[in-house]
Every structure is written in C-alpha cells, then in structure tokens.
C-alpha cells in the first residue's frame, strides 16, 4: 500500500472503537491448518487477549481465499479486514491500544529483531513439516495440497533452505530456542513485566510446536529442552486463555484444555 493509502486507513481505524463482534478467521483445526498458520493464528489471538480486546475465532475451509493478502489469520473488525500479525498490530495501535509504548528505542529495535528471528527460523522450520490435509473432495484436495507444497518448495529454494537436511533445520530451531531462552532468562516476559507483541508471537509458535501431533516429536523435543520457555508458554496460556469465555467448539482455550503441555 502506498503511504497515502496507509495513512487513510489508519485514520479510518482510529475513529471507531473496537466493536464487540470482531472475528478472527482461520482454517479448520483438525484437517486443514498448517503448523505455521496455526502458530500465526495463535500469536494473533494471544496478542489480542493481551490488549484485552475480545474476538471470536471462526474456522472456515476457505479462510486463505477470503483473506486480503492470501495469508491467515485475518480479523474482521467493523467494516475492515486486516491480515497478518504485523498489520494487525499497527491497526490495533491506530485504535489506541499498544503494548510496546513503554519501550525505549533500543528495546524496540531489539524487539523487531527478535520477531524477525522467530519468523525466520521457527516459521520456516514449521513449514518443512508438511501436514496439509483438506476438507475438499478428491481430486481437489490432492491438487490443492500439491500446489501448496510446490509453493513452499519454491520459497525455500529462493531463500536457500532447499539444501538443508532435517538435522540442519532442527539445529537452527535449537539455536533459535537457545537465543530466546537466553533473552528471556528468569523474567516473566521478554521486556520486563509487560507482555509485548514479541511475547505473543513467541507464544504462538512455541505452543503450536509443543502441542501439535506430528509424525516425529523432534521439534517439540528441542523446545522442551528449555524449561524457561515451556514455563513461559504455560504462564501465558493460564493467564490469557483459560479465563476466556468459551465458544466451545472453536476456541483455542477449549482445545488447550484437552491437551497438556507435558506429554
């Protein structure tokens, strides 16, 4: 979007307060959603919870196609649709809620840097574990999943990950988790006592890795090695998701109540 268009949208966003019927759209839980999309969706939900903004989660098979940028999750607020964590954070900021106001410039720089690290390492590592079923009938489900795989493979090749073996990917994930663990240390959140976008993002990714069943457990084993990261996930889950009003079949909280982080 050009600068003018962005400014216009921000202006529009700032005039209305947050409505009650905001909705977050993602793909179907069991059959369809990819690991990385699940992580992104969870990150957005955590972020909105941290800002105390109510949102209900709606699962649709064609969520990807409904989204303005082709990526899930996206939120539908009033008469605007915003997708992906970055733009959603800015949109929420325009409405007057921000989690990172208390940070100084250097800390904001660090926060952005860590968010990129998480996106780089964990997101792409999650993509290398394919798990794309489909609720559509045959042959559409085959075609769509091949298309998705092909798209992912092209992207991997462009950034140079195509030659990486599984061990190298796991090593990268381990390095990333080590960095996050060292940065977190013994603090409750990454930047002192207040949660920020970074906490939401990290929670989304780590929780997904820890709780989703895959063919192998190697990814989650890597994360479990760092006890302060698992404690961090549990803390955020308890604080922001279990007090949430359950819309039983579709919320994460209901799902997380059925799973335990220690398995």
């Amino acid at each position: 979007m050009s600068l003018v268009a962005e400014a216009f949208v921000t202006q529009l966003a700032a005039t209305e307060p947050w409505p009650e019927n905001a909705a977050l759209y993602q793909q179907l839980k069991e059959e369809q959603i990819l690991l990385s999309d699940n992580a992104s969706s969870l990150a957005v939900q955590a972020f909105l919870q941290m800002c105390n903004l109510p949102v209900r989660v709606v699962c649709r098979a064609n969520a990807e196609y409904m989204s303005p940028s082709g990526k899930v999750p996206f939120i539908h607020v009033g008469n605007q649709v915003v997708s992906e964590l970055g733009p959603i954070v800015q949109f929420v900021k325009a409405k007057g809620h921000s989690l990172s106001d208390g940070l100084d410039e250097v800390q904001k720089a660090e926060m952005k840097a860590y968010m990129e690290l998480v996106n780089n390492m964990l997101l792409t590592a999650e993509i290398t574990h394919p798990r794309y079923g489909s609720p559509y009938p045959w042959p559409l489900n085959r075609i769509l999943s091949y298309q998705k795989q092909w798209e992912v493979r092209r992207k991997m090749k462009a950034i140079g990950w195509a030659g990486k073996t599984l061990e190298q990917v796991l090593e990268d994930v381990d390095q990333c988790c080590q960095a996050l663990s060292q940065r977190l240390g013994t603090q409750p959140y990454f930047f002192n006592k207040q949660p920020t976008e970074l906490d939401a993002l990290v929670f989304g990714h780590l929780f997904t890795i820890l709780t989703t069943q895959l063919t192998t457990d190697e990814l989650s084993e890597k994360v479990k090695n760092y006890s302060n990261l698992t404690a961090f996930c549990r803390r955020i889950e308890q604080q922001y998701f279990e007090g949430h009003d359950k819309d039983s079949s579709t919320t994460v909280a209901a799902r997380s109540a059925k799973r335990s982080l220690l398995r």
Partner: protein, 310 residues
C-alpha cells in the same frame, strides 16, 4: 597450527575488498578473529564460480555458506565472540535475522534488479571478472535469482506490482538502517570495543551500499544521513582492511607491516617499469610473492596482489 585456508570470493572496487556482501562478511570476520586466510579473488583466470561464492577450502574440506564458514572458523579456535555474554549472543542472532529479512531485499534490488544500476554498473563489473562465454550468462542468472528471491519472500498480495514491492522493501530497509543506527549509538562497535560476528555481518551489508557508486542511490543517501553507521564502516575499512595509495591491495595481518612497506615500495617501482607482466619479489619469508600488474602506472585501480603467508 591449522591447515592453510583459502577463500575464493568476488573482488573489490571503490575502496572495498569485495563487492559481494557475503564475501565481505567472511573477510571481515577473518580479520576480526585473526584467522589466516588466503583470499583469492575471482577473475578471468579462475575456473567458473558455481554460484555459491564465497567458498572456503581447507585441505579437503569445502564449505560454502557464510554461516557455515564462520562456524568452521570458530571450531578452528578463531572466535571473535568469546567475550560476549549469552544474551549478547542471542541478540547477535536476532539482528542478523533482521538484516537478512529487511535489508537484504533492498540491497539485492539496488545491485541486481534496478535497471539503470544493473546495466551501467553491476553487469559490466561482474562480466569483466568472469571468463567468456560465462560472462554473457552468469550476471543475468544472478539478476534473475535476486528478483525471484525478492518476489517470493516479499511479493505476495496485496502488493501486486513490482513498484509496490519496491516501495515496501526500501521502506523496510530504511527502517532497518534506522534501527541499526539507534542500536549502535555512539559506541565503536555493536558490543563495546571489540568487533564481533554482528559487526562483520553489518559491515558486509552496509559497506557495498555505502561505497559503490550507482546512478540510483536512494539507499546510499539514507545511509549517509546516519553518520554513526558511516563512521563504523570507515573505521573497519581503515583499521582492518588497510588501503594504500596504490589502489586496492589489502593484507591479511596487521603484524606484516614491515613486509607491507617493503612490498609497497617495490610495487611502485616495478609497476612503472614492468607494465603488464608478472614480477616476482623475494620477501623475508620462504615464499615467493608473485605480483600481477593489470595496468600500468602508479595509483592504478584494480591492481591485485595475490600471495600467501604461513
């Protein structure tokens, strides 16, 4: 003592030891950690580069990506990071990810995709250093790969046209430069007074933007408004990559100052006398040092010195 290590990478110009960001990163790290690398720049007499430059060759081991090369150097006990705390190590990783996500697309675009820059500067420069007939094909391929990478990683909807993608990546790059400048502040290097891996990476990405003279230079102009980053690049160039008035020769170790002075005097004389020929100059060590003068006269750009030290 470790086995001798050789690095093949792209050469330099405009005051830089190399134009290629990844090659620069590896060279800078080698200087910071004191690793004795022999640097071989790619020119017409080399066999064709396979596209994964820089490459480190040590005995039988061939390593190709900067991250892996740096890991290898660390395992050989050439470590520039041993004074860093765990948290600083974590910050290093994060900032490197930031550079690759936000700054690299704009850098690739300035070098390889922007039509004026590519046709007038990048393509002739690279083509002159690759043997014919590969010089007709390889720059084009590198340009296509760069465009591909930009579009695949940044070009999804709602950015539907290349101009919108370009606007977005330059905005991101400028924001990244601002963040780096704020993080650097007034200190000499990113973590105190000694340079580390992060300094090598930042230098590798910033120096080409800073020094190479392109027709379209919006990123360079933005960088020049951040004086602490410019000072950072200049400091590393003068302290670790000593540049002589003769042109762009550079040396591996600062402790070879005596040999450096001797060679410089000899080079001045021999360049003027032996134009375009091979000259060998005996040094204080056991090795002979072949000098190749590409062009004649003093103060010539493009003079390459190749040698090795034990």
């Amino acid at each position: 003592m470790a086995a001798p290590m050789e690095l093949s990478c792209w050469g330099g110009d405009w005051g830089l030891p190399s134009l290629h960001p990844e090659s620069l990163t590896v060279m800078a790290y080698a200087k910071f950690s004191g690793a004795p690398l022999t640097v071989n720049t790619i020119n017409n007499s080399w066999r064709a580069p396979k596209g994964d430059v820089p490459v480190l060759i040590s005995e039988d081991i061939v390593i190709s990506q900067p991250a892996k090369i740096l890991n290898f150097l660390r395992k050989q006990k050439y470590n520039a990071d041993y004074e860093l705390s765990a948290k600083q190590g974590a910050d290093t990783l994060a900032y490197i990810a930031l550079l690759e996500e936000k700054l690299l697309p704009a850098l690739l675009h300035t070098f390889w995709v922007e039509a004026e820059n590519y046709c007038s500067v990048t393509k002739p420069w690279f083509a002159s250093r690759i043997a014919f007939p590969l010089s007709l094909y390889l720059p084009g391929r590198m340009s296509r790969e760069a465009l591909n990478r930009i579009l695949l990683t940044r070009g999804g909807p709602p950015l539907y046209s290349l101009t919108e993608v370009e606007a977005q990546i330059y905005r991101d790059a400028k924001e990244c430069l601002n963040l780096l400048s704020k993080r650097l502040g007034t200190s000499q290097f990113f973590f105190g007074d000694t340079p580390t891996t992060l300094d090598a990476f930042v230098f590798g990405f910033l120096a080409p933007i800073y020094k190479v003279c392109f027709p379209r230079v919006q990123l360079q102009e933005h960088l020049k408004q951040l004086p602490n980053l410019c000072r950072f690049c200049d400091d590393i160039l003068t302290c670790y990559f000593r540049l002589t008035v003769l042109g762009f020769a550079y040396f591996n170790e600062i402790k070879t100052q005596a040999i450096y002075d001797y060679l410089r005097a000899v080079l001045q004389r021999t360049c003027m006398l032996h134009m375009g020929r091979y000259v060998t100059v005996p040094t204080g060590t056991r090795d002979e040092v072949p000098l190749e003068c590409n062009r004649s006269g003093p103060a010539v750009p493009g003079t390459i010195i190749r040698y090795s030290f034990m």
